[in-house]
């Protein structure tokens, strides 16, 4: 029982990582209607920018803010320069460009900052909270920031004209143009926001997993899994999905005999696919009403 509780808490802590990333995944899905494979590498790259600023002696929150701003601009620029020209190409061609971006960012980061791990500071206190040693202040802080982001996104999407325009542009670009929405810029904005959220996720995750060019490889997969389980259309679902994946993975790894510890990831993935079979649009996702 004690082990169960401990693993549950550890699962929540890791789940926080996935939730953070899942949120960025949902963000990009909302604006481009598919998934960006280079998302993790973008987050990793942003985190390196923050690391570099810190190394130059910037204060933490200054570097944090600058990184978020730079990432936002970077996201917009990537959309405008890389994806606008191939707007009409098939989806698979877009995916190949994502793969290209993935290799470029990974390679450039490794070339510039080396592949040796770097520690990245946490803005939260390092002593254990409430005498609880199983979940650190940083874990809690990260979960808190995820929730704050979630609320901000909710407000943006549900209660502002800009958010409404973004949702419209993603859901039905042609109709959105017909009401005068500049769809191209909405997509670029979506990229910017996704990059900014990714940057925050990266800066929250790096203190836990250490900063190195390949740090996002596994996390992106789990984040995607979380987003899909929760439903790609629902930010709340994505965050819950992220936690669910973290908890399931830890419990499966610990309590399923023989194969559990070796196939932790596989079991988590099988469960996710099972969820999708029963509920193809995710636990909290809405099925699009399709007109025939």
């Amino acid at each position: 029982m004690e082990l169960f509780l401990h693993q549950l808490l550890a699962g929540i802590a890791t789940g926080g990582i996935y939730a953070c990333m899942a949120l960025a995944v949902v963000m990009i899905y909302q604006s481009i209607d598919h998934f960006n494979f280079a998302q993790g590498e973008m987050a990793m790259f942003s985190t390196y920018i923050a690391w570099q600023l810190l190394a130059w002696g910037w204060p933490y929150w200054g570097a944090f803010a600058a990184t978020v701003a730079l990432s936002f601009i970077g996201g917009v620029v990537i959309e405008r320069t890389l994806f606008k020209p191939i707007r009409n190409a098939p989806v698979l061609s877009h995916i190949v460009v994502f793969i290209a971006m993935f290799s470029i960012l990974n390679s450039v980061a490794g070339f510039t900052w080396e592949y040796t791990i770097k520690s990245f500071p946490s803005p939260f206190p390092s002593e254990p909270l409430f005498g609880n040693r199983l979940i650190s202040a940083h874990d809690l802080g990260m979960i808190g920031i995820t929730v704050v982001l979630l609320v901000l996104l909710y407000v943006l999407f549900r209660h502002t004209r800009l958010g409404l325009a973004m949702r419209a542009a993603a859901a039905n670009p042609e109709s959105a143009r017909l009401v005068g929405i500049r769809v191209g810029w909405m997509v670029a904005l979506g990229w910017g926001l996704a990059a900014a959220i990714g940057a925050i996720a990266g800066m929250m995750i790096a203190p836990i997993v250490f900063l190195e060019p390949n740090m996002m490889l596994g996390i992106l997969l789990y984040g995607l899994a979380g987003a899909v389980v929760g439903g790609l259309t629902s930010p709340v679902g994505a965050v819950i999905g992220g936690f669910a994946v973290g908890i399931v993975e830890n419990l499966a790894g610990t309590f399923i005999p023989v194969i559990g510890k070796e196939l932790k990831l596989t079991i988590a993935l099988v469960l996710i696919v099972a969820v999708l079979m029963i509920k193809p649009s995710g636990l909290f996702g809405r099925t699009a009403v399709s007109r025939v």
């Binding site: 890389l82 698979l92 995916i95 460009v97 793969i99």
Partner: protein
């Protein structure tokens, strides 16, 4: 009137008195002749590389049958490649089966594996299918490593197999022989794919891709055909994997990571989604372009690769096959307007 001419030309462009399909046939024969001659004139190492190109081409063609013809999406074909490779390696190493006989076994096992995977995949579409196949790709190396199967798979160590010598005392090097062997398999599989696409089954698969609801209404058993597409696709990729194991002489979990699946996808898109000859171009691309990128810059090799990839997509958004069609169409128009 002008419109009617346009349509007529798009339907059957003629260049130099030959229709597009006629050019294709001519080109096929030409490529085959060159393919037969090449190993006699180049180094063994190049022969080996070209063999790998053909193997990748078969794997990419497999993926293409699924994505290009049937419209299903897979990021997990490294798994079927791995199953094919391990089938061959285990049969050769543990049971002493001759290498040539392992290919059909690998193909059948992958057909079954693909069909079975295709069943649950039926309920998933687009991104969700992508995730499920992605999961398959990620899980594959773990399953191969699993200590439960270590007796057969060799666990993390993998299996080393012996490279076959040419039969009947043919005066060929091992590399040359494997090249011709692979070429023969490739020709058979490409021809079979071409027949499949133009058959009733092929039309059904394409109908499902273009309009699943209409296909259903026409009485096509979409579930069966979609699973079948998965199976056949896996068969192709599995046979490629089997050949790969023989040529590389080694299988290990690290050989079949998610990056292999990504490479297949890249090869398919670069060659042209839905194009049979495009698979060869795709195979050559994933074989040679990374080496080229490495020559440009060692530290930034993958950045260079990424840039090349982006440029390719910009120039040929629908892959090499689409690009050729476009150019052929243009040429045809210029030729006919000069006539």
């Amino acid at each position: 009137m002008a419109a009617r001419e346009d349509i007529a030309e798009v339907a059957a462009p003629r260049v130099g008195g030959l229709t597009f399909p006629a050019w294709q046939r001519l080109l096929t024969v030409g490529v085959l002749i060159v393919g037969l001659a090449i190993p006699l004139f180049v180094r063994n190492f190049t022969v080996f590389q070209l063999t790998l190109v053909m193997i990748y081409a078969i794997a990419i063609l497999g993926l293409n049958l699924l994505t290009g013809i049937n419209g299903q999406f897979s990021l997990g074909h490294s798994a079927f490649y791995a199953i094919g490779a391990y089938t061959t390696a285990i049969l050769m190493d543990r049971f002493g089966v001759p290498y040539a006989l392992t290919l059909p076994v690998a193909g059948v096992i992958c057909l079954i594996a693909g069909f079975l995977f295709g069943l649950p995949a039926l309920r998933l579409e687009g991104l969700y299918l992508a995730l499920a196949t992605f999961a398959l790709a990620v899980a594959t190396p773990q399953l191969l490593k699993l200590s439960l199967f270590e007796r057969w798979t060799g666990g993390v160590q993998g299996i080393v197999i012996v490279k076959p010598d040419p039969p009947f005392g043919l005066p060929l090097s091992q590399d040359q022989w494997l090249y011709y062997f692979t070429l023969a398999v490739l020709v058979v599989m490409f021809a079979a794919a071409a027949r499949l696409i133009s058959s009733r089954t092929g039309r059904a698969l394409k109908a499902i891709r273009d309009n699943p609801l209409a296909a259903k209404a026409m009485g096509i058993d979409t579930a069966l055909y979609k699973s079948l597409a998965f199976g056949v696709s896996a068969l192709y990729t599995g046979v490629a994997g089997a050949l790969g194991a023989i040529v590389i002489q080694f299988v290990a979990p690290d050989s079949f990571t998610f990056f292999l699946a990504v490479s297949f996808l890249v090869g398919m898109v670069v060659g042209g989604v839905g194009s049979i000859p495009g698979a060869l171009i795709g195979g050559a691309f994933i074989m040679f372009v990374p080496n080229l990128a490495e020559q440009v810059s060692k530290g930034l090799a993958w950045a260079v690769y990424g840039v090349i990839l982006i440029l390719v997509i910009y120039v040929m958004p629908t892959g090499a096959a689409g690009f050729v069609r476009l150019v052929a169409g243009r040429v045809a128009r210029v030729v006919s307007s000069n006539r």
